[in-house]
Symmetry: C2
Subunit: 400 residues, 2 copies
């Protein structure tokens, strides 16, 4: 029997995967599980996007251009122009979700064995795509104590080697909800210019920024036009994760021409998803206002609620729909499994994402979880009540 | 300005890409171009698939399971069972087109620097995916003189090194239309068992087999259950290339578990495409009968037509909808460009795919083109008339 590749063996598994069988058993046993572990929002897809699908007229579902339908690319360029990012439709390629945009970016910027610096904790699949592209992740620590702020330049410089080719940030961040300040982006600018690095920013949560804060895109950062690459997606913006449509954006023409070669190999991004995406561009501002208000109130319920629990620390996120919480437990992986296997409050429990999956440094984040506030407020309150009750009786509780 | 990766620089471009600007100029100048260069069929998508899209009921377009919707996987398993391939739904993962299935297969079977043997000429994008996965292609020559039959075992063994991990075939073949015989598959079985290799078969054209011939899937080949991997796609089967839905199939559980890690990193294949794919499974046999009859008559028009042109050799393909033709020209790339730039017959011309793009060996196939018979018979006849007239006056003609 032939041997599986080492790449396949070292490919990290989704951090939640180990919990899935326990959730299935709990669910079959009749437990009601509040899923705070996943990023699948319950917000409705804009009607415009659904209508475009219902009224699809073509008799053949054909390939699009490898860079995406031109009309959609023009629409996307217009979307960026409206938020002050001066690009045209040749500066972007439509991709199969933000996932593929990241894979194209990694393949175009980094060779096998090259290094990328990523502030930790970070979206777990960055590890998977890096393995897939043969890229080595060098994580730079951020701390829950200052809400996951960007480290100083000196900390970055300790990690930079001749193999370092790029810095990757997620802004606002999954799993932290952290929003980078203007000053932090200027720090990144200084580093990437000095060390001639690419600056890749995953900005898929751009619209989910709260409390009057402003999102600063790397595409607006002067002086790094040839360094900056944005990973974008329609998944969260329009609550249509299943269409698998995103894009890669950069003013660096050589970068886009290179990414285009990878795009051509896979022929075309999904046609139907692009049709939904193009229609969604006309979504009224009121949709985002409503969605944003909903997330703010959910966040407030969640963060206030969990911080009231003894021993829990949860910085208030300014963006996205995730928060990292530190729990008074020996091991968040064990606790998350225990919640599914051994706990219930009136037949209900909570599923959490252990934060270890978001750290590449071993033994970091072991007492932290990521909470996605993608449930309605009533469910969130019930989930918090479960968490509170569970932490009182969990055998591995670290405070008495 | 940071440097693009070497991987990006060496990533091969689509072979037709160089011709596209010339086609655009010709088209703008009012020339009518018969596109024999691409694999986008004009056959209608089954009504069932379109209806499923029109009547999509959900309010949120959500992710599916990373392996694809369970109901669709079960439907696919049933499809395979009906054609005598005894697999269950755990033996497959739904992918974003056949493209992603191949990428998962390469990433799961081969490490960076490992080698894969592919009979040449082969689908040009195999080169791209191999570069992307860090895999080295070792091509094994086949010849137009015997219709691109598989070489003898000894020829394969000349290429096998400790780095060889897999053999990849396309059956029926793009770009040759060649259909492997039972004996040829048995030859492959002997090699992969003896040298402990994976046997990856791209069988996306499985239904397009003519003249009463039988398609032999590697999944039916006894004794290589742990070696055989099938790449499949809905694109050509149901003429819906734009849905971007395919699958990877293998009875090797470790292989599927490994591919699953790559599947999890990219979250989900397209939801809408899967809905079309699942509905398409119910397509009546009469659809394929009609489509097959249409392709056979097109093939006959094409192959008989071009073989009548002096100096042209075109073996009659038994499957898919491509043929390789050898032309009496100095250089098929120059000829293809000349057809667009300098030739017309009553305002019409032809776009061909130079076969060099399908060879990885330099200077092979320089007088060959791939012809896709994806146009109706009337258009094909006009295209052949153009080709005939063009070859009579082309300055680089090699026969007098």
């Amino acid at each position: 029997m032939p041997k599986i590749s080492n790449k396949g063996i070292t490919m990290p598994e989704s951090p939640m995967r180990k919990l899935v069988p326990f959730a299935e058993i709990a669910s079959k046993a009749g437990k009601n599980i509040y899923h705070l572990n996943i990023g699948q929002p319950d917000i409705k897809t804009p009607e415009l996007a659904l209508e475009a699908i219902h009224s699809f007229k073509d008799e053949v579902i054909e390939y699009s251009h490898s860079a995406g339908f031109k009309s959609y690319r023009k629409g996307l360029a217009n979307y960026y122009q409206n938020i002050g990012i001066t690009i045209n439709y040749n500066n972007l390629i439509v991709t199969t979700g933000g996932s593929e945009a990241l894979l194209f970016a990694l393949n175009s910027c980094l060779d096998n064995g090259d290094e990328i610096i990523i502030p930790e904790p970070f979206y777990a699949n960055y590890n998977g795509f890096s393995t897939s592209a043969g890229v080595i992740v060098k994580s730079i620590a951020t701390s829950i104590d200052d809400g996951f702020a960007l480290p100083e330049i000196a900390e970055f410089e300790k990690l930079i080697t001749p193999k370092t080719k790029a810095i990757l940030i997620c802004n606002p961040g999954n799993p932290t909800g952290y929003l980078y300040s203007k000053h932090e982006l200027e720090t990144l600018r200084e580093i990437v210019i000095k060390h001639d690095l690419f600056l890749i920013a995953d900005e898929v949560y751009r619209e989910f920024v709260y409390d009057g804060e402003i999102h600063h895109s790397v595409l607006k950062l002067e002086g790094v036009e040839q360094h900056a690459i944005v990973i974008d997606s329609t998944s969260k913006r329009y609550s249509m994760c299943g269409v698998r449509v995103g894009c890669i954006v950069s003013k660096n023409k050589e970068l886009i021409a290179t990414a285009m070669k990878f795009a051509q190999a896979r022929l075309s991004p999904p046609t139907l998803g692009q049709i939904a995406g193009e229609a969604a561009l006309k979504t009224d501002a009121s949709y985002f206002k409503e969605v944003s208000a909903e997330y703010v109130s959910r966040r407030d319920v969640l963060v206030e609620g969990v911080n009231k629990i003894e021993g829990v620390i949860c910085p208030k996120p300014k963006g996205a729909f995730y928060a990292i919480a530190q729990l008074p437990v020996d091991d968040a992986e064990k606790f998350a499994q225990w919640l599914l296997e051994d706990f219930d409050l009136n037949g209900e429990t909570v599923m959490l994402a252990p934060a270890t999956g978001f750290y590449s440094t071993p033994n970091k984040g072991t007492n932290q979880v990521r909470i996605a506030y993608v449930l309605n407020k009533e469910s969130l309150q019930k989930a918090i009540a479960c968490l509170d009750a569970a932490l009182k009786i969990y055998p591995g509780r670290t405070i008495q």
